[in-house]
């Protein structure tokens, strides 16, 4: 391995450690503290009755702040890792599952942290960060030869189009992950009314805002993908499974957006659609494993 590529990998390792720790802290922060109570009562007959109770209480703000700090560290390390690899390869690392997923980790972390700032909701990290950790685990499990920098096959050599197409896809998936997290938290918050979780209104809006970034990004992915296919293969739409699964995802988010004009549909039903839609995202992301077709290259 070239030394820059190796260094990039070490930074990825550092990012993984920071993100795993951050995910743990976010979880502790969102779940809250379990407080056990013992109450001993002495009855008039002279016996003692002990009652036990457990209750959930908000966790200390400190651990939440610590989670955010660690997440920033993770994102910074991952950013350096991507930067080093970009320098080593002379292009953005977007061309196989190792590179694509590493960039996803960076963008998902960044998008999440931006939303955390905008809305001031830290509890969302308890869902987004574990997702990011799952992705990091996947990257660790990929065959190690993908960590090398390879030259590109001719069909992938159209740099600007490929860069925008793929980075838009990663941006879309990252924002959809945040929308998914907000939907999950919404369903929890709307059902159990945990006092320290953000209000359902805010989560509903947060999910929508995330989709308003992800949906145009996914539209661009489809359009630029078509333009790219047109340049490489001569048709702008081939009904290739990777194309159609992205179209499927796009349509599900289309359904979600329409539910917002049917006022009564907001809330639970919209959130449920977001869960389905995110399943479609995961399906599209990992679809290479079950599809043949034109997108079959790229490390799987």
């Amino acid at each position: 391995m070239e030394s820059l590529v190796r260094l990039s990998f070490y930074f990825f390792a550092a990012a993984t450690i920071a993100l795993v720790t951050s995910a743990a802290c976010y979880l502790v922060y969102a779940v809250g503290r379990i407080r056990l109570r013992h109450t001993a009562l002495t009855t008039s007959a002279g016996t003692t009755v002990v009652s036990h109770g457990a209750s959930l209480e908000p966790a200390s703000l400190g651990i939440g702040r610590f989670a955010t700090l660690l997440a920033w560290f993770g994102v910074a390390f991952q950013g350096i890792s991507i930067l080093l690899r970009t320098i080593a390869a002379g292009r953005l690392p977007l061309s196989n599952m190792y590179e694509f997923s590493s960039t996803f980790i960076l963008l998902a972390g960044l998008v999440y942290l931006v939303f955390e700032r905008w809305y001031g909701v830290r509890q969302l990290g308890a869902i987004v960060l574990p997702l990011i950790v799952a992705m990091a685990t996947y990257v660790w499990l990929l065959p190690s030869d993908l960590r090398e920098v390879d030259a590109l096959i001719p069909a992938l050599q159209n740099r600007p189009l490929m860069t925008i197409h793929v980075s838009m896809a990663i941006l879309a998936y990252a924002t959809f992950a945040v929308a998914f997290a907000a939907a999950v938290l919404f369903l929890i918050a709307n059902r159990w009314r945990v006092t320290w979780l953000p209000g359902p209104d805010l989560l509903d809006d947060l999910a929508f805002r995330a989709v308003t970034i992800g949906f145009p990004a996914l539209s661009l992915v489809l359009i630029l993908g078509s333009v790219w296919a047109y340049r490489a293969w001569g048709t702008y739409w081939q009904w290739d499974p990777k194309e159609t699964s992205a179209l499927f995802t796009w349509l599900i988010y289309g359904v979600y957006l329409h539910t917002r004009s049917l006022r009564g549909w907001r809330g639970n039903r919209s959130a449920a659609i977001l869960l389905v839609a995110f399943a479609a995202v995961v399906f599209t992301y990992f679809g290479n494993y079950i599809f043949g077709g034109l997108h079959a290259y790229g490390g799987v």
């Binding site: 308003t212 001569g234 009904w239 499927f248 009564g264 043949g292």
Partner: protein
């Protein structure tokens, strides 16, 4: 015995068609139906996507009784099926009708919004702001209007029984952005139809180096491949394939250029793509009278010879000579299945064979010979020269008149979305009422359940307060839990 109610109004015979039309119209206008239509489309797309995967097979393996269903699934070309075309048609019609239906209302909301509101609306708003002032109601209203305008809001005021009703909004024209967006969806479908109806696509337009081929498809173009080159990396993986071509119309050169993968060559609305390449043989064949029957290159590959099915081969009919000719090249990978190779040609050699073609063929049995590059031989009555080995290039040629529609639609689609999402129409309603000490203004956003619109309103209210030098009293109602249609819309029309 049945009782017919006589109280029922007689059905007006003309009402029925109207009723049907009205029903259909309302079906196409309904967002609820649109959701169902998009969901059905999504399901069909999913079925088509999975068809291109191993998922149905896995289902059949785990649930053997599903096998017939899975086989039908694999056999069903979803994207060229009638249900798929129908749902696309229904969606296109729905979008068109929906647009026509909504346009006047949206235009009304932009150009002539309702200004007058109710105290009930302001009271029930989830968030509202109040300003108390010593000024008279019209004076306070005018100050408010100035302050809102400074914040780039359009304001309209109207007096009603001593009170001033205010309406303020921003980015009202973004309400229109939904039209280009939805129109773009129709345009993309139209682009697909136009491309399929008036375009063409030739997936293997093969030209050997130095040869000229007619493109056809009504273009009147002929193409000559001047050169084909390939560049490999050190590790043997391909880096680039390039074809240099001359395009001619009626014998005149109209364009020259080259193409590589991802960099097609465009001439007018015809686009040429590099798609593949292979080996070809340049031949010259004359009959006994010295007449040239063939002087061109023949691509090897599409045909398999029994003499060595592994090797590149070709076949052509020489009808005037009454023979069919086949050509076999040396095996490119002799180590693979050597038992099939009955010819064992050396590199640089070719095997040529003629067979009888038709009833009055001059030959009775096949005649074959191995020929080296540059050599001439006699095969039956024919004299054959193996001029040299060449390469051929496989081009894809396409003309798609739908592309401009597609590009325009893409711009409208992304632009429409961006405007809709990032410049949402913000609206504020207010009533300024006289009080014993002067006047009081109460403002509220039109933003039910829209958290960010409420936040924006709170900012605006703060800014307005600063501009007019009054403290704003923000009031927030605890929002009711979001449920399934758990509340009624109370905003004025």
């Amino acid at each position: 015995m049945t009782h017919v109610s006589l109280d029922r109004p007689a059905v007006n015979p003309r009402a029925l068609p109207e009723l049907v039309v009205d029903r259909i119209w309302r079906f196409f206008c309904s967002v609820r139906a649109a959701i169902a239509e998009i969901a059905i489309l999504a399901l069909l797309v999913l079925a088509g996507t999975l068809r291109g995967s191993s998922v149905p097979r896995t289902i059949a393996d785990t649930l053997p009784f599903a096998t017939p269903l899975v086989e039908r699934w694999y056999a069903w070309d979803v994207f060229r099926s009638l249900p798929f075309a129908s749902i696309l048609t229904v969606l296109a019609v729905a979008i068109a009708i929906c647009t026509i239906n909504r346009a006047p209302g949206i235009w009304q909301a932009i150009a002539h919004p309702t200004v007058v509101t109710t105290h009930g609306f302001l009271r029930n708003a989830e968030t509202s702001a109040t300003f108390a002032s010593a000024l008279s109601a019209p004076e306070l209203a005018s100050q408010l209007q100035d302050a809102l305008r400074a914040g780039r809001y359009r304001t309209i005021g109207e007096e009603r029984s001593g009170e001033v009703h205010l309406y303020a909004d921003r980015w009202r024209y973004s309400r229109l952005a939904t039209f280009p967006f939805h129109l773009a969806l129709i345009m993309i479908l139209a682009g697909g139809i136009v491309g399929a109806a008036w375009g063409f696509r030739d997936n293997d337009f093969i030209i050997p180096e130095g040869s000229v081929r007619e493109l056809g498809h009504g273009t009147g173009l002929t193409v000559r491949l001047d050169d084909f080159s390939e560049v490999y990396r050190e590790d043997g993986t391909p880096l680039v394939y390039r074809s240099d071509v001359t395009i001619m119309k009626n014998g005149d050169t109209v364009n020259t250029g080259s193409m590589t993968v991802n960099n097609p060559l465009t001439f007018g609305d015809v686009v040429f793509y590099q798609s593949g390449f292979g080996q070809a043989v340049a031949l010259k064949i004359e009959d006994s009278a010295g007449e040239v029957l063939f002087d061109d290159a023949l691509p090897l590959g599409p045909f398999q010879s029994k003499l060595n099915p592994d090797a590149p081969a070709a076949r052509m009919d020489l009808v005037p000579a009454g023979v069919a000719m086949s050509i076999v090249a040396p095996d490119e990978n002799p180590a693979n299945a050597p038992e099939l190779d009955t010819l064992r040609l050396r590199p640089g050699d070719m095997f040529f064979m003629i067979r009888p073609l038709g009833a009055d063929s001059p030959i009775a049995a096949p005649i074959g010979a191995t020929v080296s590059q540059g050599e001439s031989i006699e095969l039956g009555d024919l004299s054959l020269t193996f001029v040299r080995e060449r390469r051929f290039s496989v081009l894809q040629v396409a003309r798609n008149p739908g592309i401009p529609l597609f590009i325009a639609a893409s711009v409208l689609l992304v632009g429409g979305l961006a405007v809709t999402f990032y410049f949402p129409h913000r609206r504020i309603r207010a009533i300024v009422s006289p009080t014993p000490g002067g006047s009081e203004a109460q403002l509220a956003p039109v933003a039910r359940r829209d958290w960010s619109a409420k936040r924006v309103f709170e900012q605006v209210a703060g800014d307005v307060g600063r501009r007019i030098g009054l403290e704003s009293h923000l009031r927030m109602n605890e929002p009711s839990p979001i449920g399934e249609a758990s509340y009624r819309v109370v905003a004025p029309p």
